[in-house]
């Protein structure tokens, strides 16, 4: 993993300058994020855009005399230039920090822990990418993106912590389309590219296109029994971060789970949510170099077990931290399994809707944890446990207290690891371990 070595050198060079130049009374924590990615975007089994991105960012927080400020720059790979950038950023941070009011909840770094995890991969050669990814899809309307290459994260602080996480991975995030505008969505992700496995997934998707060619069923607004796959449920995961289970959001009126904290609302006893780093898909350390517990139960038996607490919130509210990032976002979430065998899901559904994907979810009312969104891709009307025909896209508007509460009939025994495919600024790490769920009702409104 030679590229990882280059990125790790940039991390250490930045760390050496930032820590080495600290003056008396100054403390600092830093994080490093980088990648060397090849992106191939395709539409209709043709290449739309292809390129490579070499990018690395250093973000740090300087603590000085009761104040704090964040600063950042991008590391170029040129040691001399990067050293100059680090020194310039630190100097500017010092100047600006001196002008700021005191930070009442500053939490200077204390962790001295260290770790290093490196996962090498086997990826297709760049010059073979179009043939490797698009070749097996010839003759189909195959659309999406293939991304590959090393992704790294690092953190260090002036107390002595140093953490490094590097993984060499790929994601082929794609859909195969019919002329009627219906599509099967899929994703192939991992560290060891296997062309035969890619071809097998494509063949399986082609077989799933036939039911989508049937005339669609137009549903009326109303409550429908639903089986919701792990892929679709993944779209609801963000709603435990955004206005979610962060301690600060709950304390300051931003959270949908204030009623959960106060015991006025609850989820089903079947519903369990854990932050589970044993999944091994993202680092456990935060930007200050603190390491989160391997497992943290957040919702147990439908009741709030813990919130997500950063060092800053711990100081502000006098509660124990669980080494969350300052954003208090949920990381590596896992829903508990249920008792429903996946192979029996349609039979258990009986008559209702099979939902493979949701799209563009948003809070429609945070106070009541109500979320609205759309069905997308392969969603079907089911009668007596058999797929009948695809449905027209429907809008739902449902409280998560109901979806994972009074309307939750069962969860599947099997759980799927859904990778995070986002690539805003940088390719994301992480994902979620999720079952499918059987819901007594899902409220369609349009």
């Amino acid at each position: 993993m030679s590229n990882n070595n280059d990125l790790e050198r940039r991390f250490d060079d930045a760390r050496d300058v930032l820590m080495g130049e600290l003056a008396s009374g100054e403390e600092l924590s830093m994080e490093f994020s980088g990648e060397l990615s090849t992106f191939m975007r395709f539409n209709g089994c043709k290449v739309r855009q292809i390129g490579e991105v070499d990018v690395a960012y250093v973000e740090f927080r300087l603590y000085k005399e009761g104040k704090s400020i964040a600063a950042g720059f991008n590391a170029t790979g040129d040691a001399g230039e990067d050293s100059a950038r680090a020194a310039r950023a630190l100097s500017r941070a010092r100047e600006e920090c001196a002008l700021l009011p005191d930070d009442p909840y500053r939490s200077a770094p204390t962790s001295t822990s260290t770790s290093s995890e490196v996962f090498a991969g086997r990826l297709p050669a760049q010059e073979r990418l179009p043939q490797e990814v698009l070749g097996p899809a010839a003759g189909t309307d195959f659309t999406g993106i293939h991304s590959q290459g090393p992704i790294v994260r690092g953190a260090a602080n002036s107390a002595g912590a140093r953490h490094w996480f590097a993984t060499e991975s790929f994601i082929t995030d794609w859909s195969v389309w019919l002329p009627n505008g219906k599509a099967v969505k899929s994703c192939y992700a991992g560290r060891e590219w296997d062309g035969a496995e890619h071809a097998r997934r494509l063949a399986a998707a082609k077989a799933r296109l036939e039911p989508l060619s049937r005339p669609e069923v137009k549903l009326k607004p109303g409550d429908y029994r639903a089986y919701i796959t792990p892929d679709a449920l993944y779209e609801t995961i963000a709603f435990f971060s955004w206005n979610g289970l962060g301690e600060r959001d709950i304390r300051e009126g931003e959270s949908a789970y204030i009623a959960l904290r106060e015991g006025r609302k609850g989820f089903s006893p079947l519903f369990n949510l854990t932050q589970d780093f044993s999944l091994g898909i993202e680092p456990r350390f935060n930007e200050a170099g603190d390491v989160a517990p391997e497992k943290l139960a957040l919702i147990e038996g439908g009741k709030l077990a813990s919130t997500i607490v950063s060092n800053r919130s711990a100081k502000q509210y006098g509660v124990p931290t669980n080494a969350a990032p300052e954003s208090e976002d949920l990381r590596s979430p896992a829903f508990g399994a249920g008792k429903l065998a996946e192979k029996d899901a349609l039979k258990a559904l009986g008559t209702g809707v099979y939902i493979s994907n949701f799209h563009y979810l948003n809070w429609s009312d945070v106070e009541t944890a109500r979320v609205t969104g759309m069905t997308r891709f392969s969603c079907f009307w089911v009668e007596n446990g058999e797929l009948v025909a695809p449905i027209s896209n429907m809008r739902f508007d449902e409280s998560l207290y109901d979806l994972y509460g009074s309307k939750l009939e069962d969860l599947t025994v099997e759980r799927s690891l859904i990778p995070e495919t986002g690539s805003y600024v940088l390719r994301s790490l992480g994902g979620a371990l999720l079952p499918g769920i059987l819901a007594k009702g899902l409220r369609f409104t349009l």
């Binding site: 990615s37 191939m40 539409n43 089994c45 043709k46 290449v47 739309r48 855009q49 292809i50 390129g51 490579e52 991105v53 070499d54 990018v55 690395a56 400020i69 964040a70 950042g72 720059f73 170029t76 790979g77 040129d78 002008l99 700021l100 009011p101 005191d102 009442p104 760049q126 010059e127 990418l129 179009p130 043939q131 659309t143 999406g144 995030d173 794609w174 859909s175 389309w177 505008g181 599509a183 969505k185 009126g253 931003e254 204030i258 006025r264 799209h359 563009y360 809070w363 009312d365 106070e367 009541t368 109500r370 759309m374 997308r376 896209n393 429907m394 809008r395 508007d397 805003y424 349009l446």
Partner: protein, 480 residues
């Protein structure tokens, strides 16, 4: 400051490329925020890098690198060549540089009154004082203020002679108050959590004007605690510009993007109900609907002189008297489709290839005063300030929620409503547009966080609109 990019290009451009270009982007950002009257955070960042791009036998390839030394950029060009050659047999279109990469020469800087910036102590002090001023009652449980200033410098050089330099000064502000009484929690912001984005200097952070906005947000947060829930009804809907901007963005902007029409976004952001043959024919909305792509509006967030492939920016009608006359498509999308477009190929940074984007997309003002619009309504709701948005992947079925509303009865505004929402289908909704406010109701807003593209890109856009009335809309409240 511009560097000698043409010389750097001459020293690094590869042999064998039909065309090669370099785009340098340098951005500097400053931000600060306050919560509950106290300092919360401040951040200063710098970022600079290069996108090396080649065209080989009609196929583009790119490589992004932050390293500006000659050897590194030569290597980047080499990798771009390798990828372009590999993709050649699978090319979606054989591009011609003369068509897709203009040989333009220009320099441009967005306007701002105060060029000297704002010292961090003034910046943070203002945020803290506004946040403190919003705590007007024990029922206010949180106040927050966020300020940001960005400078984005873009420079382009190409082997066919493009030499472009552009600087954008973009400022952002957000003020919010959250009130609670018993189990009722209500949030009120100044025009939304992210709509106040403009091209401006330090004058954007006018302490006097912001104090009035902060006071209003706090007072209305308290007012909402005892307001009735918005009733469920089918009625006339009057939308303020701080909701209209997102209605335009989601149900006009994205559906009219030519790359969505061509299917590029189907796997991620989604498709559109607009077909290629609709351009020039489709009755998109009522005859009162006039939508322009206008990157020339001074102060609007996405004004510019040229896009990120060097196409010269100019105002174009997208929808004229309700008819879709042109799509939001760049030179590349125009070449692929043969359809008319605009100068909108933009990237969110040096590390991403540009794609079709909205820039400024505005609804032109009409003739009605706000008072006349309300007077003509027997029963309806006036809504302000977006708080929720969702639309399907073909951009048909939408649902929006707002922070604050007023009931309209018999031509008069009668009482305040909380949790107002509405839903509809894009084309039928725009056909129900029955009143368009005059210039006195026209306001400029924008969005700093429009997401699109694979790999993903988040970019700022501008939207300006007058107050508008739509007839026969499904309206509902928090428990519906």
């Amino acid at each position: 400051m511009p560097m000698d990019l043409p010389r750097l290009l001459a020293a690094t451009a590869p042999q064998g490329a039909g065309w090669a270009g370099l785009r340098r982007v340098r951005s500097t950002d400053r931000s600060c925020s306050a919560r509950d009257g106290k300092y919360d955070s401040a951040r200063v960042t710098e970022d600079e890098g290069y996108l090396a791009e080649v065209l080989v036998d009609g196929q583009f390839g790119y490589a992004a690198s932050a390293n500006a030394d000659i050897a590194s950029l030569k290597a980047a060009f080499g990798r771009a060549m390798t990828l372009a050659r590999a993709a050649g047999p699978f090319a979606i279109h054989r591009f011609d540089a003369r068509q897709a990469r203009p040989a333009s020469k220009a320099r441009w800087e967005s306007s701002r009154e105060k060029k000297s910036g704002l010292a961090m102590d003034d910046f943070a002090g203002l945020a803290c004082s506004l946040s403190s001023a919003m705590r007007i009652s024990d029922k206010i449980i949180q106040t927050s203020v966020d300020f940001e200033i960005h400078e984005v410098e873009t420079e382009i050089a190409s082997t066919n002679g493009a030499e472009l330099f552009q600087v954008l000064h973009v400022a952002f502000q957000s003020l919010q108050a959250i009130a609670r009484d018993g189990n009722v929690v209500q949030k009120r912001t100044a025009n939304g959590s992210s709509a106040r984005i403009r091209q401006a200097g330090a004058e954007f952070f006018d302490a006097g004007a912001l104090a009035l906005d902060a006071q209003r947000a706090a007072e209305e947060a308290i007012e909402l605690l005892t307001a009735q829930d918005c009733p469920s009804m089918t009625g006339d809907l009057v939308l303020a510009p701080d909701q209209m901007y997102l209605q335009i963005h989601e149900s006009v902007g994205h559906p009219c993007e030519l790359d969505r029409i061509l299917g590029d976004e189907r796997n991620f952001a989604g498709s559109t109900f607009v077909k290629p043959d609709d351009i020039g024919k489709l009755q998109y909305g009522s005859k009162l609907m006039n939508i322009t792509f206008d990157p020339t509006v001074q102060g609007e967030a996405a004004s510019y002189a040229f896009d990120d492939i060097g196409a010269t920016a100019k105002k174009e009608y997208i929808i004229k008297d309700g008819i879709l006359v042109r799509a939001l498509g760049s030179l590349e999308s125009q070449a692929r489709s043969g359809k008319p477009g605009v100068s909108d190929q933009r990237a969110d940074n040096w590390s991403r290839a540009p794609i079709d984007r909205m820039a400024n997309l505005n609804l032109e003002a009409g003739k009605d005063s706000f008072e006349d619009m309300v007077a003509g309504i027997e029963k309806g709701v006036y809504m302000e300030t977006n708080r929720s948005w969702s639309i399907d992947d073909y951009r048909n079925k939408f649902q929006f929620g707002c922070e604050y509303a007023k009931l309209i009865e018999n031509g008069r505004i009668t009482r305040t409503l909380k949790n107002p929402n509405y839903r509809g289908v894009s084309s039928s909704f725009w056909k129900s547009l029955c009143k368009v406010g005059d210039g006195s109701t026209w306001r400029i807003f924008g969005a700093p966080n429009c997401g699109k593209g694979e790999p993903n890109q988040v970019i700022f856009v501008g939207h300006a609109s007058p107050v508008c009335t739509f007839r026969g809309v499904e309206i509902f409240g928090g428990e519906a």
